[in-house]
């Protein structure tokens, strides 16, 4: 029990969830904006999508999928914790969520490169 008291899975899960949520919320308008370009010209969109071939953009995109995955599984974990009257294997749930997130984003990443 030495060390910092926030040093436990549930608090990290909270932090991760908040940061990923925030990241997604900032990305969301940008994402919508890019797709919205399709109204004016599919070419503009294409131009942008070519961009996405660049490694740095790939990484950024991977980051987004990662965020979504993290937030998604973290959210599922929270919903389960809050809505299902289970006895409390909270920490396992938290760990599972992170594992799930890595799995999905890992698959995405492997596919992307």
């Amino acid at each position: 029990m030495k060390g910092h008291y926030r040093n436990h899975p549930l608090w990290f899960a909270f932090l991760l969830h908040r940061l990923s949520g925030l990241g997604l919320a900032l990305f969301l308008p940008a994402h919508f904006y890019v797709l919205g370009m399709a109204i004016r010209s599919p070419e503009a969109l294409d131009g942008f999508l070519h961009w996405t071939d660049m490694p740095i953009v790939k990484i950024a995109e991977f980051g987004l999928v990662f965020l979504l995955a993290v937030h998604f599984f973290g959210g599922l974990r929270l919903l389960a914790l809050e809505f299902l009257p289970w006895p409390a294997p909270h920490k396992t749930l938290a760990a599972g969520a992170v594992a799930g997130a890595f799995l999905v984003s890992g698959v995405f990443f492997l596919n992307a490169v």
Partner: protein, 110 residues
Amino acid sequence: MLDLRLYLAQRLSAMVMVPFVFVHLGVMIYAIQGGLSASEILGRTQGSLFWFLFYGMFVVASSLHAAIGLRVIVHEVTGLRGLLLAALTWGGFVVFFFLGARAVTAVTMI
């Protein structure tokens, strides 16, 4: 800062998004194979009522969800409250929703 209604709105929108995100993630993993192109995306989605409803509901849910999420963070970080906080929440929602609606129409309407 949340009360029961905002909380429910956020949780319900999260639940609504579960299948959407699932599919969305799947589509992205699938689509990224071989790179993205506008025509590929548009070819799949344009004129499809299914995708219109799919992305339409996704946008509504995520706008609501994200607006409320930001509200919480803003309140907890800056201490903002009252009317200003409400204005920010709904302002956020409107921005998300407007951009989102534009995107959906762009990709699904001909």
